[in-house]
């Protein structure tokens, strides 16, 4: 699979060369076509970048393919993401695909730890990275933009702002900081949730409704004017620690998916068993976070075993 992709890159470069030699205009058209295609599918650039990084480690003399990649290689080596590219790609909405499973990693403690965890994560378009509520409240919108910069280009970034009021203002802040999705509380007034979803559409990001402490997610969804993109079933951390008997209502996943055309995320916890349970019950996205007693390596390992699990 990996090898095949490499061949594609070679083919594309060769095709552009041939096109240039026939007619420069052809060549330019080809270049634009490639840029347009990358803009639509930024995940390919990500895997390409990481490949170049490994290529360079194996062969320090540098086997460069063209100027475009050379520039990226230098940046990738210094572990900086090309900010111009980020701006360019952030304008398009990254779409989560139905029928695919995603792992959503919530970062909650400090930006230093966030960067440690991100550097350990395997590179995959199945991994979403979240700037957790505490991070946003401590660092502000900077938490979102910095996590976006640390993560590989084209990564889907969730801002867990847990909006309860003044939805439009918050969505604007998060979208400007570079988030691909923002969250709103399911317990918030219906008017807030409606204006949240509307604002998300306006700023071209995904809307996530967090059903923490909501008894019936279906009852909330019924009252909304438009559906959100993602519904998140969630048990709070304080709840989990202090009363063990409360469970995530996994049976609701099928109820929601049966009635509405939305993705369902389950905020699971911190071990692979919870993840397996959620996937088995047909969740599209599983949210995990690092507990303070775990090392960042454990979280990375969890991500690896998740990717293996979903094949």
């Amino acid at each position: 699979m990996e090898k095949k992709k490499n061949n594609y890159v070679g083919l594309i470069v060769l095709a552009i060369f041939i096109a240039f030699s026939i007619n420069p205009i052809f060549g330019l058209v080809g270049v634009f076509a490639v840029i347009f295609w990358l803009k639509k599918n930024p995940e390919y650039l990500t895997s390409y970048l990481s490949k170049i990084k490994t290529l360079n480690e194996e062969n320090p003399s540098g086997e460069t393919i063209d100027v475009f990649s050379l520039e990226n290689t230098v940046l990738a080596e210094k572990n900086i993401q090309p900010s111009a590219f980020n701006d360019f790609f952030s304008q398009t909405k990254i779409r989560l695909k139905k029928r695919k499973k995603y792992l959503h990693i919530a970062l909650n403690s400090t930006l230093e730890e966030a960067s440690e965890i991100i550097s350990l994560l395997p590179s995959s378009d199945r991994i979403l990275i979240e700037a957790g509520t505490p991070l946003i409240k401590i660092y502000g919108a900077r938490a979102v933009s910095q996590i976006k910069n640390m993560a590989p280009a084209g990564t889907y970034i969730v801002a867990d702002n847990k909006c309860a009021d003044l939805a439009e203002r918050e969505v604007e802040i998060m979208a400007n900081a570079g988030a691909n999705a923002a969250t709103c509380l399911g317990v918030a007034p219906i008017e807030t949730i409606d204006s949240f979803i509307e604002a998300c559409q306006k700023f071209n990001i995904d809307s996530i409704i967090d059903m923490m402490n909501v008894e019936s997610a279906l009852a909330v969804l019924k009252k909304l004017k438009t559906l959100p993109d993602i519904v998140m079933l969630h048990r709070g951390v304080d709840e989990s620690e202090l009363s063990k008997e409360k469970q995530i209502p996994l049976y609701q996943i099928k109820q929601i998916k049966g009635n509405y055309d939305v993705l369902v995320a389950v905020a699971g916890g911190d071990d692979i068993r919870e993840v397996q349970r959620a996937i088995f019950n047909d969740a599209d996205i599983v949210v995990v976070w690092k507990n303070f007693y775990q090392s960042s390596g454990d979280t990375a390992q969890l991500a690896e075993s998740f990717l293996k699990e979903i094949g």
């Binding site: 909650n108 509520t133 409240k137 660092y139 502000g140 009021d165 409606d194």
Partner: protein
């Protein structure tokens, strides 16, 4: 830290950093004014925003000012409280809609960190039901109509009748009312025996009139 006998005017700031600095500069220096770092403000500027507000306001009134961090905490009660206490807030808010475990954790953590706890009853149908389940009372209870609610649904009202009931039952707790915006609303709020009136819209919409609006409202506190 807040006096039971006194009335307070709480002003919430939600504009950009520089706007807010300019607004605080022209506010009348009165210790009846409580400065609130609004939720969008916190989510935009984080701890740094709270610290800046405290510094500006303390400098202005020449003694430590009272700063409320409108966290609207929903989970991880203690983590968020620690962060804002460290940043210099005098009080923080938690949603009444949050799980009871979170509210309890929040109130305990506020006590440990030496700041006042406020529980925001936005969208809570029966505040009493929440209060009954708590291990310990918060310092302040906020009765609240959300901004989005107000805009889109005019018939919902602030439950003024709750103020007397809560004070009658729990005695020592302070009541703050948010969601009224006109001087008429604020008079009504104080008349119904609440201790703190929260306003923001008139300041948000016309920052250039900040000084005048604040003086008008301050006159209502007698």
């Amino acid at each position: 830290m807040l006096n039971q006998r006194s009335k307070y005017l709480q002003i919430a700031f939600n504009r950009s950093f520089n706007d807010v600095k300019g607004m605080i500069d022209v506010l009348p220096a009165s210790d009846k004014i409580i400065i609130e770092a609004g939720t969008p403000f916190i989510k935009n500027y984080g701890q740094m925003g709270i610290t800046a507000l405290r510094d500006w306001w303390s400098e202005k009134i020449e003694k430590p000012g009272y700063i409320v961090a409108d966290l609207k905490c929903m989970d991880r009660g203690s983590r968020e409280v620690e962060a804002v206490a460290e940043a210099g807030a005098s009080a923080a808010t938690c949603l009444g809609l949050a799980p009871i475990e979170t509210i309890n954790e929040f109130i305990t953590s506020c006590g440990e960190n030496g700041i006042d706890s406020m529980v925001d009853m936005m969208n809570v149908e029966f505040p009493f039901e929440v209060l009954q389940k708590l291990k310990k009372m918060p310092e302040v209870i906020v009765l609240h109509r959300g901004v989005d609610e107000n805009k889109l649904n005019k018939e919902k009202q602030i439950p003024y009748d709750q103020i007397h009931r809560i004070k009658g039952t729990y005695g020592k707790v302070l009541i703050s009312v948010a969601g009224g915006e006109t001087p008429r609303d604020v008079i009504r709020t104080y008349f119904n025996d609440s201790d703190i009136a929260v306003i923001w819209r008139s300041f948000y919409e016309s920052p250039e009139n900040t000084a005048k609006i604040a003086e008008d409202f301050l006159k209502l506190i007698k």
